[in-house]
Symmetry: C2
Subunit: 326 residues, 2 copies
């Protein structure tokens, strides 16, 4: 196994994006900006009601992996698709993005996961995830050699939802640490944090070396309305944290140091994948040995690219974009 800069582990999902209005979200009882888990019947009902779609590979950690590879990092990914059409699409896209993807597909079980994403005119995205084959991702799917060979193993918080995956990613963290590697996690979603708060808190305190979260996620984790209080708690609990605040930029807290990072101005078309792209820029710059403020700048450039178009994965030449502002 060649050395990897980043190994991502996450729910392997194909996105179905459609434009929507706020009334549609209200009619279907969706919490705007959040991610809800849905079953087969609900997936069919929402799909039947939603507008024309665009399919593209998604999955939070997978998006991060694709963008980090575009920024020059050597990247691998573990996640479970089925051996169906959407599974082939997912495998093609992540491989074509330059990411190693060794996880074998699931045969004869649930179909490949899909996320029905409604994008409102304000650019906000509301996600409905049918986990499908992802619920079978477990310890047997952990590629121990790949984890031990990766500088950073990056885990998405959404993995707390499927129980087998939660066990698997704890095991992945043990393998990474035993090999002297680092473990990064993103909190993913405030509702997901609420669902699994104690487990999240224990993982952040005991296992995580690097933490990514946005304002609603970090305040949900620490049960405080104050971003500053939550940031102070993160500073105590984890060695390095990157905390994002949408248009207010982000801060990087590392021990006693705090770095404020400005946003890169752009027109908001669709926020799908913004956080994933931020983590990609940060981790790719870190792997390239850049100082923390520069990691933050790469993160902001990648996030701005993600929100400037419809869909989660990069569409522009990210390498050129980060080089342009260096």
């Amino acid at each position: 196994m060649t050395t990897l800069d980043i190994l991502g582990i996450g729910n392997a999902i194909v996105d179905v994006l459609a434009r929507s209005d706020d009334a549609f979200l209200a009619r279907h009882g969706m919490a705007k900006g959040g991610m809800a888990l849905i079953g087969t019947d609900q997936a069919e009902a929402i799909y039947a009601a939603m507008g024309p779609g665009m399919e593209s590979s998604g999955g939070s950690a997978a998006n991060t992996c694709a963008a980090a590879a575009a920024l020059g990092a050597k990247v691998g990914y573990l996640g479970k698709v089925a051996d169906d059409t959407l599974g082939q699409v997912f495998r093609h896209d992540i491989t074509a993005a330059g990411v190693t993807f060794p996880t074998p597909p699931l045969s004869g079980g649930a179909p490949t996961a899909r996320c029905l994403i409604l994008v409102t005119p304000d650019g906000q995205r509301t996600m409905n995830t049918f986990l499908g084959a992802c619920v079978t991702f477990g310890e047997a799917d952990l590629d121990a050699a790949a984890i031990a060979a990766a500088q950073v193993t990056y885990l998405e918080g959404y993995l707390f939802d499927p129980p087998a995956a939660q066990a698997a990613f704890r095991a992945a963290a043990r393998i990474a640490h035993a090999a002297g590697r680092k473990v990064a996690i993103t909190l993913s979603d405030a509702f997901c944090v609420e669902r699994h708060r104690d487990a999240f808190l224990a993982f952040v305190r005991d296992e995580a070396d690097i933490l990514f979260a946005n304002e609603s996620e970090i305040t949900a984790l620490y049960r405080t309305p104050s971003f500053d209080e939550a940031a102070a708690a993160a500073r105590r609990d984890v060695g390095l944290a990157a905390l994002t605040r949408s248009e207010k930029g982000s801060i990087i807290v590392a021990g006693e140091a705090t770095h404020s990072i400005a946003v890169v101005p752009t027109t908001v078309v669709d926020t799908t994948g913004a956080g994933d792209a931020y983590a990609a820029g940060f981790l790719a710059a870190l792997a390239a040995g850049r100082p923390l403020p520069e990691c933050g700048r790469w993160a902001s450039v990648a996030a701005a690219e993600a929100i400037s178009h419809f869909g989660a994965r990069p569409q522009a030449e990210l390498k050129a974009l980060v080089a342009g502002g260096a």
Copy 2:
């Protein structure tokens, strides 16, 4: 059967769009800007080599139908998908666009057609079509009641490629004319015109009431390097022709009259679907009883919207766009 403004008949295809460079096209022997038919092996080889994709429903006449429906026209569509995942995606998208789609899917045969589209940095698209289930579309799939109920039956020239479809669309033209309705055709692609030139010429002269073509298609049809000569020939052969010239705008020739239509300025991101959108704007305005120069303006507005984003189907509110300039 309710009265329809437009009934489209075409190859029912799901697009797979990826960004590419000119070297990729050269390496795979692709004629830039054209549409080539490919078999299963070639489809697999090109897909394996191409970059991360975005899947969305396509098909020339289907794109026209979706955009015309967005402009307020009552629209139906006939075309053949398989009963597989991509076929479900196609059916969902065209139905969600407000288009009636009565053609039953093919069971147990070839899969749903797909078009591998490479978009180069200049916004030009190069298409590779695997026809799959489309080759089984035949006279049995003609919904005679729908054709007789439609003001205009709109046929894509690509239907000359699958032999059964060619027979079917001649039959569709007969049904339409017997019901006192009009028949429109787009030449679709200069290479397609070269493949079936005599059949195209006979159809334009004997069956078509309305003709859509771009400069390379109309000059291929009439075997002349001169656009003006080709336009004069079209004026003789068909009652109404809309001839497009990319950034030079378009002309509408109708008997002795000629209307010059300006382009609507926009940034070219991806020309996929530009001609389809032009036909949609034209036919929707015609159905709404607008005079020919206004039909041309709707056509130009819809085409500009199509080339301003990645993918063939409309992403903005077309109705508002045409109203804005009225």
